[in-house]
Subunit: 252 residues, 6 copies
């Protein structure tokens, strides 16, 4: 994996395994289509019951290899106590200014029954899209040049609080890469041993079947945009979406 | 299947196969737990591309047998042109006053890309819960006596418009009856031939995995109540819900 | 204007002038891009204070000519008392089965301070998308063949009740056709005499400036889809949208 | 009570006792302030378990007398089967065109556990505000002249479905008329005998204490507008509202 | 009051008097039913116009005695400047790991016209439910062992911003303990002198009458869960809720 | 411009030019009506591509002069890294306690595609309304006395996330001051050079035309209140709003 190349798109999340579980199918699909994709994990996700930092970093890199991401970085922020503020914004923006992606993907939603890091990561990601383009501040960002990012995309966490009010949602067909996604998650053996992996795989496949089903795909991943999509040719927008015939629809 | 007994709960929907797809796992589970369950289809669901009225009625009864429902009735209203109004309300309420269930379950949501019957069925069901208890109107209801129904429960159609703003939602664990649910759907051979059944089974299992996953179940079905739940002992309410340990949670 | 050709897209609304005010810029833009576009008005919109049926029909056709729509039809339903039900659904679906568009565009929203026809038109349009594909019912639709429509698109009425909960929204750039839109509205001289037209033009331009501004366009029209957009290549979806540089953004 | 005078404001609801329970305090307060107020009940509300049409009409008039309403009319539509459509709209609009109020108040919300008449009454009321101003249709409205109504105001039913998305809400201080409101409700002896009245009074006082409490009033009634309020002097708008000092606030 | 025993449930809020006003009836009811209940106040709530720290602490303990809570603790965080972050999370989680409750109850909502502490307390409480179960971090939590908490429950602040989108809501019947709740609030003489207490009691009784009324109780307190409730037997869930007969319903 | 006088209303926002773009028409209108108005900018808004601190301060004062604001202050907090917390709250509250306004206006909404300062400013403003009235803390506020502010008003940022759930919205007619507003924005030559100003003016006029149009004004600015408006005379509330006749309405 190279490190200083320009990327088309960067996915970010707080803990190694968040990206694979949330967006692994889309990452793999984009790589297959020839795009250059980066994965940026904010923390090492440790400590956890059965993990340790070295193992987790190895698992992270193995998962990125399975998905084919050209770049996989870790910001080294502290797990469990991630808080939005200038420093984590500088850290993430420096990476974005280095790789100059057109699109930044972050998670959305307050997982009130799980880690508070998720919502803080959303706030950090939103701010960082703005920071990436700021002028006269290069010293805050490892002397990188300003880089405006075209689009901020959310990966909403299913059933989380505060994920909503989006301008547009879209579902990426991951039927061809669902197995690759499961394989990438399986790299995190320290996190999902035995029966736990079986349960997670069942849930991840179910969620992908549900999210994809809304657009006629066998498996899909749902994303959201803060604003409506802008188009000149709306029929081209709709035409690219292979609507299933009535015979194939789940309900009618 | 007897016809004049008292029931604990009645499920209703416009077309034969709606109830099996939406609530089949819960119907089967309730029957197993010893409750008396009724299924009331509003129309015969025909015409459809490959079905005909006789075949559809046979499929409907076969599906009810698979689920074990004690009562399965069809109101004989007209498919495709179901409209809320006094007559369909009288028809449904007459059945409710005959079987005297404590709970009535209807579908919720405007399926803007599918049949308009679904939303009209929701309006009819809401009105009928009220009609069931009305006095001095027995002649409108086949001379049945007034019967107040304790609870109106919704089965929200996934991703439909207008399903929301509920007072409470709950998920029924259908892990033990998911196969029975699939078997009941399979009775509708005229509706889901070959590949179409394979796709539907995949979607139905995915949705059940997604809805169940929110409460730690392998498979579940989501329902909703128009008002908050009333309790004297909230710890008993929560205590009955076997929260998965951290090892079993999909995400943490 | 021919009458029996196949169309790419059909726009429908209850009263002549609704389509021009709501979607005129998009209709003109699609025609310019080579698509075949139909306009279907449900009623003649009369009586009104200064109009009469003959004049209104002439204005309707003149406006369609200004926009370049290949087909302009009027269902002849009764203004002011439009109610969702089988008959208006048959009337609209018959036209759709004749012209076989891939996309159907209807208005969305309950204009509680204006005509109740708008919300009824939404319900009729939603149902009609389903009716268009129904088999074994050709006699209800002037002996036309079933035609499945790929997409139902909404044109949400600004500030109306009940318009929301959409799966995705998009804005069509109408900068190049805003003047054509205003010209089409101006055809309705019986509806917008003198000062009234001046005020309406000001409001229509303001709304288009506001809706377009959200996507960096000088003028735009906002549309919505009931479901998320399905994509294989999300970067292509986003890449087609010319995000303005920071210098051109209204706020930063 | 005169019958052909002009009114300032008209309140409407489907069943005699709805208006008193929902808006009785505001009606009494407006009368005290010198406004001319009308109450228009759509049906006679019968049959009910302990009522009959003659008794209910007497109770209705007694309640209007307690509140001091200048006009109290009943449209004579049929209880329990109220459905939105041209005829009930003509009936209500004819009364509005006769009394020419500036403001029309209707209920809002789908009481899914109670009468379906409530939601149909909302749809009828919304449509009627539009019908009231229509020209060239006098014969549909008892030969009355068109009358534009300045404002449609909602009285949202607490906890009902579908009441929301308003442009503005306001609370009327009814501290001085809460007893009059209770007295008006007490006129409906056929509906609220003994213990039932005690429970209703408790609930009505609680709701008024809750709704008033949001604005620092001892008792209040909440209303809503479909659009934002238009003002030239926003400080005058806010200045008329006697905000309680910190010592009087329920929470701080 | 003992201090090191295991508890069934812990209620937490930022200022002494928040818990009594919000959840006092439920706390007293749970104690009566034999549960072990803890109250954890985050700050001493001072300074205020008429209070001082010593008096407020005495009032806090007197109120806990009135309600019968087995444990009453104060985290000693600073009033008026409460901010979510690692330190307050460690403080609250240490108490939870000591008492090992199955359920944690926190407030929900941004009181934009009152103290910013309320929303920060919500964020702290959400994070702490997660912190309570964390392994390999005992030194951050006074050397306590990890303790997974089954349920996070919210007490939504009436009319506050941001309280919504819950998975389920329930109302606890506090008819038998409303007087005890009022008595507990009355312990805070420094906060609610004379007329101010009279107004607060009126508002608190009104809110309890309103919230209870939605489920047929004379007085109730509303709570919410982030996720739907999981059940095996939905009829048992509904059966425990004594729905009032039609004669007792406030409206029908 | 004097500096120690009492003010009627204070508007606050993070960057010089935010207030002019968002509320310039209302500020100018209030001054014309004889009110004393203050503008409080939290930061100097620099660095930006073409600005510098001295220039920006001069532009800020020039803009305040154009609008006629009696007071224009800058808190000197740091642009781009504004974070809610005690210190910025103290800074803003000290100014409020000095000028003692009855009303405080802040921005609302998370501009996820722009500066994170906007949402932090909302949190700071909400907290500050509470801080302004706090007793026994004068030393934190430059030895100023407590001052309770009657109303917190929001200026929602169009299309921003999280702006919603308001108790009431109102639109101020700025038809008479729209040119003054544009002139004030034009003072910020460093921010909006050439073509950029032309585009901004187009968008600002469009937004004002859209927001005003909802209440029948040629140009307006939309504001929101966290709670419903309290009134004694609702007809006076509605009567002050000059509803346009049917001839002037954009749609009917």
């Amino acid at each position: 994996m190279g490190k200083s190349t320009t990327l088309d798109i960067v996915f970010t999340a707080p803990h190694p395994d968040d990206l694979e579980i949330g967006s692994g199918g889309t990452i793999a699909s984009l790589v297959k289509q020839g795009y250059r994709v980066g994965m940026v994990h904010m923390t090492n996700g440790e400590p956890t019951p059965y993990g340790d930092p070295d193992t987790r970093m190895k698992e992270m890199r193995a998962a990125a290899d399975v998905l084919g991401a050209q770049v996989c970085e870790n910001l080294g922020l502290t797990n469990r106590v991630l808080m939005d503020g200038p420093e984590p914004r500088f850290a993430l923006a420096s990476v974005l200014r280095k790789y100059k992606p057109r699109v930044l993907v972050g998670i959305a939603g307050r997982t009130v029954a799980a880690s508070p890091d998720h919502y803080q990561a959303q706030l950090i990601t939103e701010a960082t899209r703005f920071y990436s383009q700021l002028t006269k501040w290069n010293e805050r960002f490892d002397d990188t040049e300003p880089h405006p990012i075209d689009h901020l995309v959310y990966r909403p966490i299913a059933r989380s609080a505060g994920a909503g009010g989006f301008g547009a949602q879209f579902v990426v067909d991951i039927t061809a890469t669902i197995d690759q996604k499961i394989e990438a998650i399986a790299c995190y053996k320290s996190q999902f041993p035995g029966e736990r992996f079986r349960r997670l795989e069942h849930y991840v496949r179910s969620l992908a079947g549900y999210e994809g089903g809304g657009c006629g795909y066998e498996y899909g991943e749902l994303f959201a945009l803060p604003r409506p999509i802008g188009v000149t040719d709306p029929l081209a927008l709709l035409g690219k979406w292979p609507v299933p015939s009535i015979v194939d629809r789940p309900r009618f």
